[in-house]
């Protein structure tokens, strides 16, 4: 099972007017791995990410999760299929508390007659049990990411680093097969990045596959089992981190553009 | 066939007024993503002032030709409307630029109510007659009649619309307006003061509204403190129909809506076998709006709105 492919993207294409953002990209994410997606600015990483997670409809391409085709045109269907993502510019529910944000993540996994409107109004035993379960699970996830004490704080009052971790907790609440992270380390200092790295390794160890876009090449190399490099919308290299680091096309793409990250 | 022609004429005239008003809405929405609910009231104030001037002049200078009356009426109402609109923007909208999106909507509605009530108190709670300024003998076109005032309204409206579109496309001010509409931060970096441009946008729309107010007063011979509301709503519909933020769209939307309304009112009896009568006319505007938004939300010519964070 661990060698099986979780996510398979084949021949994904997307153009915006005259600009080809994603040009015949194919990508496979192994179950249980942390796969990185890197490339210089404007390489098409975010667009590809948005195609995979349903935010933008692809012009062409097929998308499979566990060898089963999924429809990449509906955000909420993608979530239900088992891909849950975070956002580059952090999209938390600002006026809701940290705990409530994570509880929302449990929404689609707690469907039953009890949790509907009538259950809420009548406060049936089934409803109360379901609510208790949601709350407990959410608190557990907050503990897992290290935000236990911030449960009752409004999410917009949290520090930047905490907000990022909260977003991850919320995504984990949906019991995803694939956790898709969009630049989770952006704006973090070295200590925070280490904490993030440990968290992601723990998530992988606990059985969730991760796909991650990042600009911090060092972080990616130290974290990922496989890396795909994009430039100008095309895949220029795919494979193990140590191979990618030495790959001539990759070096040219980064250094040739005068683009280095420490 | 005669009915068709008549309704088309009526529709075009009405539509040209809607277009004038719609342009004001669309420019403000394009720049601020705000529905300027007070726009209809600015129109009403324009009409009221025109009436005041016309009444005063007709009694003191009876020999003044219609052109003179109209010019002086506009010379009074346009600046007042522009000032009013700039004041509204400064006092009610600008402080709330960073507030939750519903806040300026509520202030707009509150101001709309306040303006209407003030007009009711200071002018009159009752409808007032607006005298005919132009000769009333209709021109015959085929089997239909075109009143001189209708021709006047249509020509003036069309001229103003063309002038505004030309100005926005070709002049430096127009460029600044388009820049701020697309990307206010970038425009600021280019040395354009967005606040000034926003104020000018409001004032341009208000000037058109003042003319539209006079046009409506002339067309229906009535001025009333609620006269701005429904046309305002319909004009917003027209702006959305054409593509919000899109100036030519407002023109197309306005003319189209005027014709749909006119034709609909004329034919609805036949279409529904007598079930619905022409008093359902207002329903048309709304029905069109709903259909457009559901089927093609970006409007006929596509919307042009900046992305607001």
């Amino acid at each position: 099972m661990s060698a099986a492919t979780l996510l398979r993207v084949q021949h994904a294409c997307k153009r915006f007017g005259g600009l080809v953002a994603v040009d015949d990209v194919s990508l496979a994410v192994k179950t249980g791995s942390i796969t990185g997606l890197i490339g210089p600015n404007g390489a098409g990483k975010t667009t590809l990410f948005n195609l995979i997670t349903g935010l933008i409809p692809p012009d062409s391409g097929t998308f499979h999760l566990h060898e089963k085709r999924y429809d990449p045109t509906s955000v909420h269907n993608v979530a239900r299929a088992g891909i849950c993502r975070t956002f580059q510019n952090i999209r938390l529910f600002s006026d809701m508390t940290a705990l409530e944000n994570v509880m929302v993540g449990r929404h689609m996994r707690t469907q039953s007659l009890h949790t509907g409107v009538m259950g809420a109004i009548l406060r049936t035993r089934g409803f109360r049990a379901a609510e208790r379960h949601i709350r407990e699970r959410a608190q557990a996830l907050l503990d897992y990411v290290g935000l236990s004490n911030l449960a009752t704080h409004r999410s917009k009052s949290l520090s930047y680093g905490d907000q990022r971790r909260l977003e991850i907790a919320r995504a984990l609440a949906t019991d995803p097969k694939l956790l898709a992270l969009d630049e989770p380390a952006a704006g973090m200092n070295a200590t925070e990045k280490n904490t993030l790295r440990d968290l992601l390794l723990r998530i992988r160890a606990d059985g969730t596959t991760i796909l991650i876009i990042e600009h911090d090449v060092k972080l990616i190399m130290g974290l990922c089992d496989a890396v795909t490099v994009l430039d100008h919308g095309q895949v220029i290299a795919q494979g193990l981190p140590q191979d990618i680091q030495r790959h001539p096309a990759v070096l040219e793409a980064y250094l040739g553009h005068g683009h280095t990250h420490v | 066939m005669d009915i068709l022609l008549q309704q088309l004429i009526n529709g075009l005239v009405l539509g040209s007024v809607y277009a004038l008003i719609a342009m004001g809405y669309t420019m403000v929405y394009g720049i601020l993503q705000l529905i300027n609910f007070t726009h209809g009231e600015v129109l009403m104030v324009g009409a009221m002032i025109s009436l005041l001037v016309v009444n005063a002049l007709q009694s003191s200078l009876p020999a003044l030709p219609p052109a003179g009356l109209i010019l002086i009426a506009l010379a009074a109402s346009v600046p007042v409307c522009m000032a009013l609109s700039a004041l509204i923007e400064r006092v009610a909208y600008r402080p709330l630029r960073n507030a939750p999106r519903l806040a300026p909507l509520i202030t707009a509605i509150g101001l709309s109510i306040t303006l209407q009530t003030l007009a009711m108190i200071f002018f009159s709670p009752n409808p007032m007659v607006f005298p005919d300024l132009l000769p009333t003998t209709p021109i015959q076109i085929g089997g239909a009649f075109l009143a001189p005032k209708q021709l006047f309204i249509f020509v003036v409206s069309l001229a103003l619309m063309m002038a505004l579109m030309f100005m926005v496309q070709r002049s430096p001010l127009g460029r600044s307006m388009r820049a701020v509409a697309e990307n206010p931060q970038m425009a600021l970096l280019m040395g354009i003061d967005p606040n000034r441009i926003v104020a000018i946008t409001f004032m341009l729309g208000a000037a058109l509204a003042a003319v539209a107010g006079l046009a409506l007063a002339m067309n229906y011979n009535i001025v009333h403190f609620t006269m701005g509301f429904i046309p305002g709503l319909k004009a917003f519909t027209a702006a959305v129909l054409g593509g919000i933020g899109n100036l030519p769209g407002a023109v197309v939307g306005g003319l189209l809506l005027g014709m749909i309304e006119s034709l609909g009112a004329g034919y609805i009896g036949d279409l529904t076998g007598g079930f619905l009568g022409s008093h359902y006319q207002d329903v048309f505007a709304f029905a069109v709006l709903i259909l457009v938004l559901v089927i093609r939300p970006s409007g006929l010519l596509g919307e042009r709105v900046a992305d607001r964070p």
């Binding site: 955000v75 909420h76 849950c84 956002f87 999209r91 529910f93 600002s94 006026d95 809701m96 508390t97 705990l99 409530e100 509880m103 929302v104 929404h107 689609m108 949790t115 509907g116 409107v117 809420a120 109004i121 406060r123 609510e131 409004r154 919320r170 609440a173 949906t174 | 993503q33 529905i35 709330l96 507030a99 999106r101 519903l102 806040a103 909507l105 509520i106 202030t107 509605i109 101001l111 109510i113 306040t114 209407q116 009711m120 108190i121 709670p125 709503l233 519909t237 959305v240 007598g274 079930f275 009568g277 008093h279 359902y280 207002d282 329903v283 709304f286 709903i290 938004l293 559901v294 939300p297």
Partner: protein, 362 residues
Amino acid sequence: MTALASQPRHKALWAVLLIGCVLLVLPFAAGLLGNAWVRILAFALLYVMLALGLNIVVGYAGLLDLGYVAFYAVGAYVYALLSSPHLLEQFPLLAATFPQGFHLPIWILIPLCAACAALFGVLLGFPVLRLRGDYLAIVTLGFGEIIRIFMNNLNAPINLTNGPQGITGIAPLEVMGHPLSQPLDMGIFKLSTLELHYFLFLALTLLVLLISLRLQDSRIGRAWMAIREDETAAKAMGIPTRNVKLIAFAMGASFGGVAGAMFSAFQGFVSPESFGLMESIVLVAMVVLGGMGNVWGVVLGAVLLYAIPEALRHLARPIQLQLLGEEWIAPEALRMLLFGLSMVLIMLLRPRGILSPRTPSP
């Protein structure tokens, strides 16, 4: 929970008891000043109910509905049609089937009105689901107007709503066999019809309040708020936004329907005039001014924006006569003026509403 519950328990209990006593005694105190004041209280409660209903749509789910009055109208007309001789007069077939009139008991009639309003809520909801904020506002406004125009014109060729004249002869509410048009003699004291209506409305309002609070603190409540905060993120978490929005419309509309039924029965008469755009606008103002999504804020907003202008309307004339010797501004005009100005001022001073948007539950 609320600020109330964060204080020591017994303090909160005392506060609730105090408010309870005030609410119970209020109609009698107001009655001393005159019947008009008790009517104001009863109507204030109706507005609170409506505002709470709208709060679900606007406050919880963030859907700007400017045509909410349509649901009020549906509830009112359904009640009117089923409790007055109008339909029986128009359709001999119905008169033959129900020679004594429909005579539906209150526990069927009120849910029926709520259900009809909810149905309209869903019908309105469907086409507007994909619309963003301002467009949604205009379309819902259009719907509200369309409903009113239909109510005003559906008197030919079939006379359903009796057009601008409205429907008269609406039977009063009957609670446990006692029609509310008759005073209730309880031995120790007598309750007038106005007071009876007040207490019924109070009970219903408290019920609506309870339901609102329970919905807020539930899975569906969180889903609504997620949509309000960031719809894309909500979708990305798997929330079926279309259905959740429809539920918001339906629930909100059902409260409006109940209030409409009460209105109908209270007045004994309904006409399209009572369901204009202004009503929708006033309701939105109540919700936003009070503090969107905050149930207590909404109650405050409803009371402030209804009771105070109404009080003013009654007092404007005597006050002006006292101070100025004559009436400078007509009471209705003064009310509208102050209403408009207060909307502007409150929004400028406190854009998020008087009470902050709901304090989250721990």
